[in-house]
Structures are given as C-alpha cells and as structure tokens.
C-alpha cells in the first residue's frame, strides 16, 4: 500500500513540475520590463508558500504528539521542519536574485523577505534544539512545545515586521506587476507543483526516520 502511495505521489510530482516548468518558461509571456529573469518569480512565490505550510504541519503534529504521545507525530514534525527549512533556504537564495532585478539591490528589508528570514531562524532553532537533546521522549516533547511556540509567533512576527516597514515607508517600492491570465496560470501551476514536491519529500523523510527507528530497535534486540 505504502509503496503504491509513494509512486503515485512521485508521478504527480513529476507531472505537476513538468507542467509548471512549461508554464513558467513557455506558456507565460515574457514580462516587458524585467525580461527573462522575471520568470524566477513563479518559482520564488511557490517556494515561499511551502515553508508556511510545512511549519503549520509542524505545529499540528506537535500538538498531536503532546496529546497522543505517538512517535509518528514527532517524526512528521521533524521531517516537515527540515524540509521547510530547505525550501525557505531556497527562498532566501532566489529572493535576492529577484530583488536585484526588481529593485537593484540584492537584499532589502522588505517585509515578506524579512519574515522569511525570521521564520528560517525560528526553524533552524527548532532543528538545533532537536540536536541538543539526546533522549527520544524528551526531544520529542521539547521540540513539540517549541514547534507550537514558533508557529504561533509567525503571524505576529509578520504583522510587527510589516508595520515596522510601513511606518518608515520603503524607499524601494514594489514593482506593481500586472499578472496576465497566463502568468496567473504559471504561478498556480508552480505553487501546486512545489506543494506536491513537499509532500513527496515529507513522505521520504518520514520513511527514512521510520527505518532508522527499526534499525535502532533491531540493534537493541541483538545487543541484549
């Protein structure tokens, strides 16, 4: 059952990604002012959304772990956090490229990018916390508590950062981009493709975690 599930997701990921690439590079028209580099926008947006989904999953899995104490929820949280950080890292890498083209600077304390940075720091902290606790049960508990705290702080962070920026208005204005219908398709195609990719990676990651657990169990049995 699990294997079929996995293959189905893999196939979906392949198909959606192919379509997204097609949509981004061919289907969507070239943007007037920024040229071909603008196309990175579609991927950047998709990449930017996935971490928030990933960290929502971390929060929900954390709550479920604390109430039910089943290891699978802890595995889900750990896997989701890691993948979220990977995607967020890509956001922070593609973001500056976008910023350079749109505004001429590699980095700007623009609210969304800044929030992505804070979120990145939050979940790096989550991962470091996990690494700093040896015992399974303690690690899962601590991570779960921080997983909830971290996610709750995201919207408040976003709000505060946004107000921080509007009170001193950005010198660089956003390039009010008009999205044609085709462009919108490209954007959504990208978002869907990367979400499916996230699900794929998450499955893989949790499966690896599971195998690790089984390996440990076997080691114990042989050892004693």
């Amino acid at each position: 059952m699990k294997r079929n599930n996995f293959i189905a997701v893999l196939a979906a990921a392949f198909v959606t990604m192919m379509f997204a690439i097609y949509a981004a590079f061919i289907f969507a028209p070239e943007e007037q002012t920024m040229g071909i580099v603008q196309r990175i926008f579609y991927f950047h947006i998709a990449l930017a959304w996935v971490p928030y989904l990933a960290f929502l999953i971390v929060c929900i899995a954390s709550i479920l772990y604390l109430t039910k104490r089943e290891t699978k929820w802890d595995q889900l949280a750990a896997g989701s956090a890691e993948i979220g950080v990977v995607f967020d890292t890509l956001v922070l890498i593609t973001g500056p490229f976008w910023a350079r083209v749109a505004w001429g600077y590699y980095w700007t304390w623009e609210p969304r990018l800044t929030t992505s940075l804070i979120v990145w720091l939050l979940y790096i902290a989550y991962i470091l916390l996990r690494r700093s606790v040896g015992e399974h049960d303690k690690r899962a508990r601590f991570a779960a508590v921080f997983g909830i705290v971290a996610f709750v702080s995201v919207p408040i962070n976003f709000m505060a950062i946004r107000w921080w920026r509007t009170i001193h208005p950005l010198i660089l204005k956003s390039t009010g981009m008009e999205l044609s219908a085709n462009m919108r398709v490209a954007m959504f195609a990208s978002i869907i493709a990367f979400t499916v990719l996230y699900i794929l990676f998450l499955q893989l990651r949790v499966a690896v975690e599971n195998s690790n657990e089984e390996l440990e169990k076997l080691k114990d049995e042989i050892g004693s």
Binding site: L66, L129, V133, R141, F146, V149, M159
Partner: protein, 228 residues
C-alpha cells in the same frame, strides 16, 4: 486561594534568595550599564545630533541581553542544587511554578531597568523635558511581560538541553522580534516629546496581543517541559 498562596510562596522564596546573594541583580545591572557604554563608543557621536532612534535601539538591545542572563540564571539555580525536584515534590500545579517564575523574572528585570533608564536618558537623550515617562513605563512593563512570559518557558527548555545556556538566545531571539520591534519603535516615539502619543497605540496593541498569546501558550505547555 490556595493556588495563589503557593505561587506567592515561590515568588517570596526567589526574592529572599536573590536579596541575599544579589547575584542576578548585580550581573544584570552591570551588564546593562556596560552595554550602554560600549554602544556609545560603537555608535555615539560627539555632536548633539539626534541619537534618539539609535538610542532606543541601543536601550532595548541592552535590556534584551540582560534579560537572557537573568532568565537563564533563574532556572540554573534550581537545577544545580537539586531544588527543582524539591519544588516538584510539593502538591502544586506545574503551572503555578510557571506563574511564580514569570512574576519573579518580571520583578528582577523591571528593577534593573528602572535603575538604568535614568542613566540611559542621561547618556543618550539631550532633551529629556516633556517625555511622557508614564507611557514609557507602560511600554517597558508590557515588553518585560512578554520577555518574561516566553523567556521563562524557553529558559526552562534550554537548561535541560546539552547546550544549556547557549541554546537560550537561539530559541529566544527569533521569537522575541515582535516585542523588540514594538518596544524600540514606541520608545523612539516617546523619547521625542513632540511626537503625538497616539503614534504609540499600534505598538502597544502588538505588545498586549503578544503578551496574552504567549502567556497562555507558555502556561499550557510548561508542564510538558518539567515532566520526565
């Protein structure tokens, strides 16, 4: 109420303990003063130029770092002497321990800040007349509440990890950003007497919301940190 009596018993114990050694208090106070002085060398100017924006940031960075010192120490004490177990043997809800620690931390941090604010004004603010110190106190109180609320939970987590003290700033800083932003921005407004006080309201709202949310979450999740 029985619950409150026990909370205050814990707070009283922490205060008596601290008054005897003054360990937390002196290290936090000295730390803040040193930071203010050092920042002056790093950023300061001889001219009467408007340091207000910068000053506000300097003040809150100093407070934040000092808070981390204080928050860390409050649990290290209990853990090192095995007293945490003593506390846990008492028939009291774990949440009461949380509340007591928050109150204790709030008191220590606030006293340190109360002493350092006049010195700060002396160092960095050229024209102190007309500053609405009442609102300033309100900002400081609300920020401290947020710092204590989430800081108590996070320091309980961090001293139970391998990295101990080092884990605290890693966990704490990303989470405390909204408080830092709100405190700095609203302090900047306050420190220039001519600014309308209404500019501060939005930031106070953020602080209040933050405090309520994190007090609640920490209150609910604290027991999971203490259990073994």
């Amino acid at each position: 109420m029985d619950y409150l009596k026990k909370v205050f018993a814990i707070v009283e114990k922490d205060i008596i303990s601290e008054l005897r050694t003054k360990e937390l208090f002196t290290s936090m106070l000295v730390f803040v003063l040193l930071t203010l002085v050092i920042f002056n060398f790093a950023f300061g100017q001889d001219t009467q130029a408007d340091m207000v924006d910068l000053a506000s940031g300097i003040l809150w960075v100093a407070f934040l770092f000092a808070s981390i010192l204080g928050l860390n120490r409050s649990f290290v004490h209990e853990k090192d002497e095995g007293c945490m177990d003593g506390l846990m043997l008492c028939p009291v809800d774990r949440s009461a321990i949380y509340i007591a620690k928050v109150i204790g931390n709030l008191i220590f941090i606030s006293i340190v800040e109360l002493i350092t604010v006049p010195i700060f004004v002396l160092f960095f603010i050229k024209d102190a007349a007309g500053i609405n110190f009442l609102f300033f106190a309100l900002i400081i109180f609300l920020s401290n509440l947020g710092i204590s609320a989430i800081g108590t939970l996070l320091s309980a987590i961090s001293i139970n990890t391998r990295a101990r003290d080092l884990m605290m700033p890693i966990l704490f800083f990303p989470v405390i950003v909204p408080v830092l932003i709100s405190a700095v921005k609203s302090s900047s407004v306050i420190l220039v007497a001519s600014n309308p006080i209404t500019d501060v309201y939005a930031w106070l709202q953020v602080l209040v919301v933050y405090d309520m949310i994190f007090l609640l979450i920490s209150y609910l999740t604290f027991e999971y940190i203490l259990e073994e």
